[in-house]
């Protein structure tokens, strides 16, 4: 029996997810042993043509990481969808848009202008911008076009499974792969991570007070944090209660609050709205001005609550942006 063919592909991503695959360490050998890797641009040399040449459905599973942010990425997503029996959104960007989808708060033109013209580090006298096509010596080169809206994978193609995390930990990756290869694969659309919020596995849960009430919010650098006490009880915005567990609470263990990379549980449609609801309800203040003063401690609610999930939030994008 031939080994199942698998593909790893990356779109708008930082490469961290690829690292995780490598971080499987010696287990990677097991993977290679059981699977036939047919595409992995970050590690091996394949061409598009190789993939296009495959029959539809020839790949058993594709783990695609990164958000979809350009015409090329969209094309590849479609291509791989066609060629794969199972398409897995791997990592926060593919699952929810990830950090790249924070760009949904800006118009494309704003971003291009800043990056190619206005950023303090840019020296670009003629204000050159990337061209979509370019002709030199009779050869025509095409570049992919950056899309206006950053999307999660499932906003572009049909997705079978989601493995969240920025990046997904080797552990859940291993578990997920095992589940996929097992006899009873999970139902389509599943998120291959626990459906309970992070607090359950957080070492700081022990001794968390039952009368949480916020008089102020602090950012981690503004205070000397108690390494054992619940971060929320110290006034630090921790998204743990609104975020799936499965990571082993590594950030809180490292004295940093959870920033929400595993996304919401299946019962929640909008992670940001839910953490906002919970944090605010527990404020101490009663009058609007006092409330506002406390909430000034969260200077950028969008960036804080949708750090990894703007694309999959209910609003998806800053709504007053047209065209650009």
């Amino acid at each position: 029996m031939p080994k199942p063919k698998v593909a790893f592909y990356w779109c708008a991503s930082c490469g961290g997810c690829e690292e995780t695959v490598v971080d499987l360490a010696e287990d990677i050998l097991g993977v290679v042993e059981k699977l036939d890797i047919v595409l992995w641009p970050v590690a091996m040399d394949f061409k598009y043509a190789d993939v296009e040449a495959m029959e539809d459905g020839a790949i058993f599973a594709t783990l695609l990481n990164g958000a979809i942010r350009s015409t090329e990425q969209e094309q590849m997503a479609r291509l791989l969808r066609r060629k794969s029996r199972v398409l897995v959104a791997y990592g926060s960007c593919a699952c929810m848009g990830g950090i790249p989808s924070l760009a949904n708060g800006f118009a494309r033109e704003e971003i291009l202008k800043f990056n190619y013209e206005d950023a303090p580090s840019v020296v670009n006298g003629p204000r050159t911008r990337p061209q979509l096509s370019f002709e030199e010596e009779g050869r025509k080169t095409h570049l992919p076009e950056q899309s206006r809206v950053v999307r999660s994978l499932d906003q572009v193609v049909d997705v079978d499974y989601f493995i969240p995390g920025c990046p997904p930990t080797p552990l859940i990756t291993k578990k997920a792969l095992a589940a996929l290869l097992g006899d009873a694969p999970p139902p389509k659309g599943s998120v291959l991570a626990p459906d309970t919020a992070l607090c359950e596995e957080c070492p700081r849960k022990v001794g968390k007070p039952a009368d949480l009430s916020f008089a102020q919010f602090r950012r981690p650098h503004q205070a000397l944090l108690d390494p054992e006490k619940c971060l929320l009880a110290q006034g630090v915005v921790c998204l743990g209660p609104a975020t799936r567990g499965g990571c082993g609470a590594q950030c809180p263990a490292g004295n940093m609050p959870c920033t929400g990379c595993f996304g919401p549980t299946s019962r929640v449609r909008d992670q940001g709205a839910k953490i906002l609801s919970s944090l605010c309800a527990n404020l101490e203040a009663k009058e609007a001005p006092d409330i506002d003063r406390v909430l000034e401690g969260i200077p950028d609610p969008v960036g804080t609550f949708y750090r990894y999930g703007m694309a999959k939030s209910i609003l998806r994008r800053r709504v007053d942006l047209n065209g650009g």
């Binding site: 206006r148 193609v157 909008d270 906002l276 950028d300 709504v319």
Partner: protein
Amino acid sequence: MNPTDKAAAAGTGTPPAAEWTPRIVAFFCNWCTYTAADLAGVSRLKYSPNVRVIRLMCSGRVDPQFILDALSKGADGVLIGGCHPGDCHYVEGNYKMLRRFRLLRRMLSDMGIEPERVRLEWISAAEGDKVKLVINEMSAQLSALGPLNLPGKAKGWDAELTAEREAVHA
């Protein structure tokens, strides 16, 4: 944003301008504001017919997801009605809503939604006339702002996807 931009922002799927009236989804608490709306009815006060009331037991039940969901599904504005501070049937549910509201408004404005589109009002069971007043006022305000039309906008955003795309946004 200038007026022409506003019209452009409305995107596709908008009815002709003459026919458009704003749609308001209202979440009213059972004890004060819903009862006030009943009183407005019993008193035969007349107000703009573009509001749809959803009854909850307390304004504290209003999950910010409801507000976002209503906006994304085509509401031009969301009105939340609760008991006056100190009068909540459940002691302090209205304060909890007020706190969410303060941050939500800020967040919405960061997301390009005019703060006037989401409104929190304290309306006691006796204030039928306030129901009328607030709805009419909000209706006028939203008319002035123009359509939010998030479903239409989302369609517009997705027009950049290649034509052969699968239907994934049902």
